[in-house]
């Protein structure tokens, strides 16, 4: 018996990265802006998407891919807004992977402007998986506390924009939005920061404009 040591240097996420690159190329070719939403459970991802559906109605077409461990509940909420939604139930897996999105894309209407992918509620694992999106949002709701960016740095490091949600609760909570933003910006200086209340509508215009600008950049080939 002989033993030999070989150097392989193989990326464990290579398969996911390849699948993500194919999705990104397809979405860009179709002129669709892919947006991946990351956050802990209950921070308001679905409520934000419902509010965006109302903002975009009659101006832009959107579709949603919902990731959850179980149930069709989130997709039903989105469909109630008249928006096509495809639910992925992972059956226990803590994150979405690119190959799941590749499958789900077959059920997404071709003529849309925005494809929102709501990841499984989890501020840890989804950060490691590229889904082929062009914009990654991380949501942090005010009840969660302003100390989360430094505790979960990978999620904030991997994001393009931070959305501080449930801003209408700020008068009742010891949440300092300046501190949360500063902590996130120390990790990722290029993060765009938005403060919204999906229930009251505050801040939604700015966030919607951010998506529209990103869509225009993508369609002019500057993504």
């Amino acid at each position: 018996m002989t033993t030999k040591t070989i150097t392989v240097v193989r990326d464990l996420l290579a398969t996911n990265k390849q699948a993500a690159a194919a999705i990104r190329a397809e979405l860009r070719a179709r002129g669709i802006l892919g947006v991946n939403l990351l956050s802990s459970p209950g921070s308001g991802k679905t409520t934000l998407l419902e509010a965006l559906a109302d903002r975009f109605r009659g101006r832009f077409r959107m579709a949603v891919i919902e990731g959850d461990i179980e149930t069709e509940r989130d997709a039903e909420r989105i469909r109630a807004k008249g928006i096509p939604a495809r639910q992925i139930t992972t059956g226990g897996a803590c994150h979405l992977e690119a190959k799941m999105i590749g499958q789900a894309l077959k059920d997404v209407p071709a003529a849309i402007d925005f494809l929102f992918i709501e990841n499984v509620g989890n501020l840890v694992c989804p950060a490691s998986y590229d889904l082929g999106e062009d914009v990654r949002l991380v949501l942090l709701s005010t009840p969660e506390g302003d100390d989360k960016p430094a505790k979960y740095p990978q999620a904030f490091l991997s994001a393009d924009a931070l959305v501080l949600t449930k801003a209408d609760l700020l008068p009742y909570l010891p949440f300092d939005p300046g501190k949360a933003a500063a902590e996130a910006l120390a990790i990722k200086p290029t993060l765009r920061v938005f403060r919204v209340s999906a229930l009251c509508g505050d801040g939604l215009d700015g966030l919607a404009a951010y998506f529209v600008e990103a869509l225009e950049r993508l369609r002019s080939g500057r993504a």
Binding site: T5, V8, S128, Q154, A186, P189
Partner: protein
């Protein structure tokens, strides 16, 4: 907790490399785990120990090298390793740094028995 699915990918690499090199067993695996890769080395170890039973790596040992975060600064050209999450250039303070190492998960070396 996605360490188990990552370990499943490690075993795909092991089986593939063993086949390519005509090896029967794997006796040692070195994983390089970036500090900002989002995985916990201890959980990778326990996932590896559970997964290896009955495989070509049943007797293999796992070594994990933690790769620190290395930054490169496009403003001053400096490179630095940082242990905390304040990703700014240690030399000039610029915040436009790129992370060049410390985010990946890689199978580094493997000992194969033929």
């Amino acid at each position: 907790m996605h360490e188990l699915s990552l370990i499943a990918s490690v075993f795909e690499v092991l089986e593939d490399e063993a086949r390519k090199h005509g090896a029967r067993r794997v006796s040692r695996v070195v994983l390089r785990v970036g500090l900002m890769s989002g995985v916990v080395p201890e959980l990778l170890e326990s996932a590896f120990e559970s997964y290896k039973i009955g495989t070509l790596a049943a007797a293999a040992t796992l070594e994990i090298e933690v790769v620190p975060v290395k930054l490169r600064c496009p403003d001053c050209g400096g490179e630095a390793v940082r242990a905390d999450t304040d990703f700014s250039c240690a030399a000039c303070g610029s915040r436009r740094v790129e992370i060049v190492e410390g985010r990946d998960l890689v199978v580094g070396t493997i000992d194969l028995e033929t």
